[in-house]
């Protein structure tokens, strides 16, 4: 068991090599996190909401590192092993470039787009109230999803134009797919697709993960099959065509 009590004589003692090494490892971990922030790479793993917390962690680790370098922290023979497993390995994970294509949607990348929830209702982007038409730009997808979800009745009958990625799942009915973008709530592990259920007029579903531009009318309808489905908001497509891919993932600001 490690003793925490420190006698005044211990405070005055010279730092050992172990102290110096531990100090270096703690500072290395702090520096690796700082580099992630400086390069913006942290956005591939967490949302910008995490920034102040990560900065706080950097400061704490740096203080501990300096204290250890000065010999204020007691090191023993297990210190090296702990330093390797708990400080060096995480630092290497932060520092070394790892392709995230396996777990992140390739188009989500490291660009984070905030879903603004407090936008003034008089200046909604892309809204043409006179013609009952909403043209959703790539970066407003999250805002409009949120807005339509919260005020569904207000937008029933509107024509919506949007670009999104095609995703499907077993809960959808025949001829239905989701026009989706990626949402990160907390970190990369909870990255998930979200979007509008599209009812393709000709029943043809585009290739999964392809990018499409959908023009359709918002209606109440059945999502899923007659026996397994539920009533919800559907984008009844009048046209589905190809579109350029958009970058970035959404997060709640």
């Amino acid at each position: 068991m490690s003793a925490v009590a420190v006698s005044p004589s211990r405070v005055r003692s010279r730092p050992t090599l172990l102290n110096r090494m531990e100090g270096c490892c703690l500072l290395l971990l702090a520096a690796s996190m700082a580099i992630l922030i400086a390069t913006g790479r942290y956005l591939s793993f967490v949302t910008p909401r995490s920034l102040p917390y990560i900065m706080f962690a950097i400061v704490v680790l740096a203080v501990l590192g300096i204290a250890s370098w000065l010999g204020w922290i007691t090191a023993d023979k297990r210190t090296l092993r702990s330093c390797f497993a708990l400080l060096v390995v995480p630092a290497l994970l932060f520092l070394l470039p790892v392709s995230s294509s396996q777990s992140l949607n390739a188009f989500a990348g490291s660009r984070a787009i905030a879903i603004q929830t407090s936008q003034s209702s008089t200046k909604l982007p892309g809204l043409d109230a006179g013609n009952r038409r909403i043209t959703i730009s790539d970066d407003d997808f999250g805002f409009w999803y949120n807005q339509i979800d919260k005020h569904a009745e207000e937008y029933i009958g509107y024509t919506v134009v949007l670009s999104a990625q095609v995703s499907t799942n077993s809960a959808l009915g025949k001829g239905q797919f989701t026009a989706s973008r990626m949402l990160m709530t907390c970190c990369v592990l909870d990255m998930t697709a979200f979007g509008f259920t599209v009812d393709a007029s000709d029943g043809t579903i585009p290739k999964t993960d392809s990018w499409v531009q959908v023009t359709g009318t918002l209606e109440r309808g059945r999502i899923g099959s007659a026996s397994q489905g539920y009533e919800g908001l559907i984008l009844k497509a009048s046209s589905v065509g190809g579109a350029d891919s958009a970058t970035g993932y959404f997060y709640y600001a």
């Binding site: 967490v46 922290i73 090296l80 390797f84 060096v88 392709s99």
Partner: protein, 372 residues
Amino acid sequence: MTDVMRTRFQFGFQTFLLATVLAAGIIIASPLIDTSGFPMTGIITGVVGLLLQALPFLLVGILISSAVETFITPAFIERHFPKSTAAGMLVALFAGFCIPVCDCATVPVFSRLHRKGVPLPAAIVFLCAAPVINPIVIWSTIFAFPDRPLITVARVSFGIITALIVGVTFVIRPADRHLLREDLRTIDHAHAGGTRHSGIQQESAIAPGGDVDSSPQCASCTTVPETTRTAGWRTRLISYLNHTRNDLYTIMPYMLVGILVASCVRAFAGSSAPSWLQGYGTPIAIVAMMGLAFLSSLCSSSDAVIARSISALFPTPALLGFLIFGPIMDLKNVLMLRSMFTRRFVWRLGITVAITCFMLMVALALFLELIR
């Protein structure tokens, strides 16, 4: 022979360098490992994301917990704790809200409260409630579930209900008189009229057979003698830094294992819930998540972030089972409790918490099914 092997395989500077190069090699080679079908890059990406998210909350928890341990004397807590059962249970809940200590720090406080004559049910309410409802835990849960604030409300509410039910079971059917291990009772007796040492120090220092305890426990439970508490600011600051660092080294391995498990689960299971874990499969999901919480022994200040990462795979009651049962009763806490209390008491406490938590989550699942 053992000594020779220990000397030969000691983790020295050369091993440190070699292990570092090896770890770097594995990380760099992860795209190559992917080609074999093992999702190495996905797992590493998940680990980095979770680590970046969970480490700050772990550090906040450790800093505050260490401050409580270093600067607030046990005598202060003992003085302000009522000796009646009902009032004690209420104060225990209030203390749980106010004292931001992680779950491993509550075990020694619980032991200390019991030894100082606080009614056992009240001490148990503190043990069960504090790691679930303290401000750091609430904060981290809100952060992890910004789109589902009811998860935080449910976690706190069910945490309180669980704590009270477990406490009440010890009112209805009181525990044996001697809960402390034989060796600790002897120490208590020996020190009863003599110089006061930190009870916590004695509790955690002694392991079965009189050896120095090497069980995995929070360094909060280690030595912070009264002399340190009354020493000058410099000594206290250094003691605080040592305490913080020791806590970090003690708790972080559990967090890393939990992060690795969560990342592997997500990498292999995908992002959508298996249908058999919904509906009638929910009790299985609850048991699975409670089991995962028990084995992973995560710190309650950062477990919400890890739960979030696998929230798409499990129904809400199972998720809450993970968030409530884990902080109260996990492998690390059981080992810590066993180093201080009799096997019989630890078994009873563990089973009572598990059954209470499971039944509450099943009731919640039924309720959610009804209102769907």
